[in-house]
């Protein structure tokens, strides 16, 4: 039997008083009422630390980089006290044979009782050869571990949607976790973002471990507590949007005054994430606050939705790149000109045949 969270924390010299404070803070950071603090404490005293295998496919490690910067709770608390992070080839001390052996060890010891966290995704073309882990295609490792896990966390936009390696034309056929053919039918929670916000990642883990289940998910499998609102809905520049005050160019007066970045391509109105409430780097800032529009990194296929600095998406397939309004405007012009020409022709014809009937 693995140690409980509480035992591990006490062993690390944390007093019971600090432990209870921690439980209250966690309840608050999850948006739960005070009544939940004792529940969290109880869970941490009685439940064993759940082992987590954190696999890395095609990715850039930005999810891990984000994760280790979590401030509430601190990533070290999560890794050392809350979960038993058995395998994470990027941050683990072991390497090579020893590291890979841990996966089989965990599967043997906790079959069906560990969490599989996936950062990145597997490429399917060329039999998965574009991503090799320990001499084998990553897709094989992913399927194997998924067969034995309890649930899957899809970290970041790679695992959730595909992200940059899946952008058109997706040469390696990089595929998000839930679309991998033959993957075990396990519950999947998507935590999209490139990367996801650190506090969102640790909060999702805390929630899963505390309540032994996923937080409430939306239809696309994202936790509602962080992905139910758009950046735009809680943006501090929203009053400028409502007033009709926009940055027209990045060096204009509006940019200096902190106007809305809508016209320079901000994707805040179409992006579901918690950046405008939780913020980044311990709540210090987020892209819009730094003067750059959101480019929708947590949305499905965001690399293929036109320029980051254009409000409307360019549509391909007409031989030209044009957005919906340019295409529609051209169509309306053609129809208008055709109608005018037809009217002229009708008038001429009528004039020529006038009197034919009489």
């Amino acid at each position: 039997m693995a140690e409980t969270f509480y035992e591990v924390m006490r062993r690390q010299g944390i007093t019971r008083r600090s432990f209870l404070k921690y439980c209250s803070l966690t309840a608050a950071s999850l948006g739960l009422g005070p009544a939940f603090a004792p529940q969290i404490a109880h869970a941490m005293e009685t439940k064993p630390r759940i082992p987590v295998l954190w696999l890395h496919g095609l990715e850039c490690t930005c999810c891990s980089e984000s994760f280790i910067r979590s401030a509430h709770p601190l990533a070290k608390d999560v890794v050392l006290s809350m979960i038993s992070l058995d395998y994470d080839d990027t941050i683990m001390a072991a390497a090579g044979q020893q590291a890979e052996a841990i996966i089989e060890e965990t599967i043997a010891k906790y079959d069906g009782n560990f969490i599989l966290a996936v950062e990145g995704n597997p490429p399917l073309n060329q039999d998965g050869m574009s991503c090799i882990i320990a001499g084998k295609p990553f897709v094989d490792q992913l399927r194997h571990v998924a067969d034995h896990c309890k649930a899957i966390i899809s970290w970041g936009s790679c695992a959730s949607w595909g992200c940059v390696q899946a952008a058109r034309p997706n040469p390696t056929r990089a595929t998000p976790v839930h679309k991998v053919p033959g993957i075990a039918d396990k519950p999947i929670i998507k935590v999209p973002g490139c990367p996801p916000i650190a506090e969102v990642m640790t909060a999702v883990i805390t929630y899963i471990l505390t309540f032994d289940r996923f937080p409430e998910l939306d239809r696309q499998g994202r936790p509602k507590m962080f992905y139910s609102q758009r950046i735009h809905d809680k943006c501090y520049r929203r009053p400028h949007f409502d007033a009709g005050q926009f940055v027209e160019q990045f060096d204009d007066e509006g940019a200096r005054k902190g106007y809305c970045l809508y016209k320079v391509g901000c994707k805040g109105p179409t992006t579901y994430n918690a950046c405008s409430t939780v913020g980044w780097n311990g709540g210090l800032s987020f892209p819009i606050q730094a003067g750059h529009g959101c480019f929708g990194c947590s949305e499905d296929g965001f690399w293929d939705k036109g320029g980051f600095y254009e409000r409307l998406t360019d549509i391909h397939g007409f031989g030209v790149e044009a957005n919906a309004d340019e295409i529609g405007g051209a169509a309306a012009t053609v129809v208008g000109v055709a109608a005018a020409a037809h009217a002229a022709a009708s008038a001429v014809k009528r004039a020529l045949h006038k009197g034919d009937d009489q």
């Binding site: 239809r219 409502d242 998406t313």
Partner: protein, 236 residues
């Protein structure tokens, strides 16, 4: 042919009932407002100067768009209801009789008429087959598409748990992949309707002049008058 010898015979048929006529003009006005404000939401006006607290320009534009959207949607629902309880002409744009041979034959004649090959148009109490099909595809279905995508986008702002979000956004946004694509398609459908409106107005004016029946005044009075007697066979 006739002209001087036979007496002028003008007959009239009551085609568009009052609710249909009121709906037509309310709907036309709503579409006008929706296109103008919708375009300005996608491509906003130049920035207003001064303090943000003094303005609500974008807010008003969006408010008008949403209000007109509600009017269009509920008007459309009413129009569907009227298709059931109204006269047979009230059903025309919803169910073009595409299964009837005569429908396609007369549509061909209508196409020849617009190509200026046919010398005389056929007379109809209601819509001609071509008009009926175009209205069904480029108006009815375009409007249905716009109402659904429009409410899906509106529900995003209204938020999870609201009826708009539950009924529309919760399944339409995932259906398209994400919100940005829904915006793009909503724009495209608007241009379909704009093209329809251009053709609709042009053809209404042209037919009013060149065919043998009233068109424009019928949508005000409800009566369709025929310069050379009403058509003997008007159904399919």
């Amino acid at each position: 042919m006739s002209g001087n010898t036979e007496p002028h015979k003008e007959e009239a048929v009551y085609v568009y009932e009052a609710p249909v006529r009121i709906w037509h003009w309310v709907n036309a006005f709503a579409i006008l407002v929706l296109c103008l404000t919708g375009y300005l939401i996608g491509s906003p006006l130049p920035s207003v100067p001064g303090d943000a607290s003094g303005y609500f320009l974008m807010g008003w534009i969006r408010y008008l768009h949403f209000s007109a959207g509600y009017i269009l949607a509920f008007g459309f629902l009413f129009r569907i209801y009227w298709a059931f309880v109204g006269n047979s002409h009230a059903r025309e744009i919803f169910v073009p009789p595409v299964w009837k041979r005569k429908f396609w034959e007369e549509m061909w004649h209508e196409i020849l008429w617009y190509l200026m090959i046919a010398r005389r148009p056929l007379a109809y109490e209601g819509h001609n087959p071509l008009a009926q099909l175009v209205m069904h595809v480029a108006f009815v279905w375009a409007i249905v598409f716009l109402i659904f995508t429009g409410f899906a986008l509106y529900g995003e702002g209204a938020g999870m748990g609201t009826w708009v979000h539950t009924l529309f956004s919760s399944w339409i946004i995932p259906l398209f992949g994400q919100s940005q694509d829904v915006h793009t398609w909503h724009h495209m459908a608007m241009w379909v309707v704009i093209c329809f409106v251009i053709i609709h107005i042009y053809v209404a004016v042209r037919e009013d002049i060149m065919s043998e029946q009233s068109i424009i005044s019928s949508m005000f009075s409800g009566w369709r008058t025929f310069r050379n007697g009403r058509p003997k066979d008007h159904g399919y």
